[in-house]
């Protein structure tokens, strides 16, 4: 009973292709995120959705488009893949709590994307 799952776990593709990574959480959380871990190992937030509404949109190329069909899913579509998109992408989820509380984020296992 995986809490946050991502598919696929590994993705190898050619430059210029379009690909999608899927994320699902069964924790009943109302907020989901996408993070990118680059070659320098930094985890950086890309997007966040709360109840299917985009609330965080960092400086990410518009080739990246998140889609949230419902609260339990947040998919990441990437168009015209480039070599620099190679990274590990992590999905996460959390539940909004009262103001002043920390909302623990639960991470998926990651998707390693390799662009050739």
């Amino acid at each position: 009973d995986t809490a946050v799952s991502q598919t696929p776990k590994y993705l190898v593709t050619q430059m210029g292709n379009d690909k999608s990574i899927k994320c699902e959480q069964n924790l009943g959380h109302d907020t989901m995120y996408w993070y990118k871990q680059d070659s320098k190992k930094f985890l950086k937030i890309m997007f966040s959705y709360n109840n299917k509404e985009l609330i965080i949109n960092e400086t990410v190329p518009n080739r990246f488009s998140p889609k949230s069909p419902d609260k339990a899913h947040l998919n990441l579509h990437i168009n015209s893949l480039e070599l620099g998109d190679s990274a590990v992408y992590f999905c996460a989820s959390s539940q909004t709590l009262a103001a002043g509380s920390y909302n623990e984020q639960f991470f998926g296992p990651g998707t390693r994307l390799t662009v050739l």
Binding site: L43, T96, Y102, F107, P109
Partner: protein, 110 residues
């Protein structure tokens, strides 16, 4: 602009001894600080947090200390166990946005 910095890429400690992982930050508006632990091929898992209004939080073998004047926090693991070997990420948050450091690889030798 790295708002959260972990200047030690790795740390090696003998089993049973104390592990001390350090983290510095630049943004005084962060309201929570956290440590996440990551094993290979897995996502980060939450370990312990501390509110910006506190200076210490303890949970079993793990204690986080916050020095706001120095913009510094540290994670102490006592006693260290081989199963603690992992990458430890320091993170800070304001609202829902988590800002991570680059991580420190901890190796606990038996």
């Amino acid at each position: 602009d790295q708002q959260v910095k972990q200047n030690s890429p790795s740390l090696s400690v003998q089993e049973g001894r104390i592990s001390i992982l350090n983290c510095d930050y630049t943004n005084s508006m962060f309201d929570y600080f956290l440590w996440y632990k990551k094993y290979p091929a897995e996502g980060p898992t939450f370990l312990i947090s501390i509110s910006s209004i506190k200076d210490k939080n303890e949970d079993g073998r793990f204690t986080v200390f916050l020095n706001k004047s120095a913009k510094h926090l540290s994670l102490h693991i006592v006693p260290s166990q081989p199963g603690d070997s992992a990458v430890y990420f320091c993170a800070a948050t304001r609202g829902n946005k988590l800002v991570f450091g680059a991580g420190t690889i901890l190796r606990v030798k038996s």
